[in-house]
Symmetry: C2
Subunit: 333 residues, 2 copies
């Protein structure tokens, strides 16, 4: 009999999540009804924003429930279809439960075109993180040739793509990362002009030197003290894209820092919270095609970090907050 493991939220984390917040159980094989398909999970995406759904508090998507499966971006194969829309063997993606098998109405799924790239990229560079980088930088960051773009979490799934798109736009690109290994990787592999390791005591001096003309676009995945510092360097009419705040996800109390509104005023800066879901329309597919084309031309490189086994998804998720991964963290089911 085929095994169907599922990963549940065992308890809500306070601070950093750990393995005790998750549990694994064997579930029955689900059966599709009319209009539905049975799906075999191929890849699970672990993403920092999921930490927000572990809180029992309003968020932009509904909270996870205790003793219920987690869910997230998943690439799956149709193994049985009771819908004319999809056939056995089709590859799809959607927001699906963390389990080996699941059923879904076909309208909740998007077909994945395997010709565009390995199907795992539908969760990375050709999926939500890639499109976050694409729309966040181009639509909200509006980088112009010759400007300086600073990206935090620059070796991550979003940041690494932001930096490369900014290079395509003709910008000077500076990445902020948490290790010398990552710093070396993003300059050598992803073509960043400079990389700053924020764990070094003098990192702010390094950052200032790396941005001799100030910062025109700040693409922020991190928040907290590093972001406070970068705000000190922004130029007049700077654009700040607030895409993630990974330093803040594991804290339950409001964090204090220097007030930013004065800086925003005197620099006539624009600070925008970004959610890729705002681009879930005809623009999305155009973005995917553009990205696939850039990859084909060698202008965009991407890196995937793949852990095997659905039971290791909690470990992969926790690792996100420890800065363990370069590029997109995935779990192969």
């Amino acid at each position: 009999m085929t095994k169907n493991s599922e990963v549940l939220l065992a308890s809500r984390p306070s601070g950093m999540s750990d393995l005790s917040n998750f549990s694994i159980r064997e579930a029955k094989m689900p059966a599709p009804k009319e209009g539905e398909v049975l799906l075999k999970t191929l890849y699970l995406s672990v993403d920092p924003y999921m930490r927000g759904r572990m809180r029992d508090a309003p968020y932009f998507v509904e909270p996870f429930q205790i003793n219920q499966p987690l869910s997230g971006g998943i690439v799956a194969e149709v193994v049985e279809s009771k819908s004319p829309d999809l056939k056995k063997g089709d590859i799809v993606q959607g927001m699906l439960p963390w389990s080996n098998y699941s059923v879904s109405a076909t309208k909740e799924l998007q077909k994945v075109d395997p010709k565009l790239g390995p199907v795992s990229t539908a969760l990375g560079v050709l999926g939500m993180p890639g499109m976050t980088a694409y729309f966040g930088l181009l639509e909200d960051g509006k980088p112009k040739k010759g400007e300086t773009v600073v990206v935090t979490s620059a070796a991550g799934a979003v940041g690494s793509i932001v930096g490369q798109i900014a290079k395509i736009q003709g910008c000077r690109v500076v990445g902020v990362v948490g290790s010398d290994e990552k710093a070396s990787f993003i300059t050598k592999e992803f073509g960043f002009d400079a990389a700053i390791n924020y764990k070094k005591p003098n990192y702010f001096e390094d950052l200032k030197k790396a941005c001799p003309n100030g910062v025109d676009v700040f693409f922020d995945n991190v928040g907290g003290e590093i972001s406070d510092r970068i705000f000190q360097l922004i130029n007049e009419h700077a654009r700040v894209v607030v895409c993630g705040q990974i330093s803040q996800y594991n804290t339950d109390k409001p964090d204090m820092g220097p007030r930013l509104l004065w800086t925003i005023l005197t620099k006539t800066a624009t600070v925008k919270g970004f959610m890729v879901f705002d681009y879930s329309d005809e623009r999305y597919n155009k973005g995917v095609l553009q990205m696939a084309d850039w990859i084909k031309q060698g202008k965009i490189k991407y890196k995937e970090n793949i852990i095997s086994g659905i039971e290791n998804a909690p470990k992969a998720f926790i690792g996100l907050f420890k800065g363990e991964n370069i590029g997109k963290q995935l779990v192969k089911a």
Copy 2:
């Protein structure tokens, strides 16, 4: 002989400015050169942003210099012209020194059309504060019918106009002020739907009640704790126009508060620093004409608070930070 008093910056204030930071002296009557005009000051504008120029630090306009005249928005009459562009008796406005008489190249001046309204309004509702309200609200705030707009410093030169323009757009408008007298004034005279006196201990409860559907547009003139609170009420896709931060102008140390980037992210809010100088192009005059039309139709009311005598300009300026004025504070020379 005609008197020409001028107001100088005697010393840089630390914290709130007081009269000791200013001095008055008699100056020689200036003589216009070719291409210049001699101007007699009619009205001086005192504005909160001028506090920023009293610091010896980079700002969006250059700092005032010790023992040099302050300068600011002034409406003046041409008393002698050595330029074909302007003739004796013309009324102009410009950034001019705080003195009874001054000379200026005509290209630094804008002609004031007395048919549009009393010439003093060129410093208020038909000038910089009015156009700040107009462009800040309409271009950055983008209020839509039925939305809730919250304005701080709502009885002031900018806030009182913001609220009325928001009413014209069909919004629910809530003003935050510092006295019951102002609260009553903005609801009765300016047509705000509700007014909150932030000096009352329970003001935040009052504010929540006044915004049952949350806050879609927050037009901020104040900053600090009041703004922190209002951020707690913003809706998804809210727009925050950072127009002034009067609570922060008199402090030299960076002020701490709850970090806002997390809220900006989860609400996908847009926070924009606003400077009216960004609209110093063909849009500006259109704004002035629209405002003059609204005033003629009775849709916009304005209030001026006029102190006489150029030697009283420092007192009028200091009063801005004590919340003494309703509407536009002017000095009649």
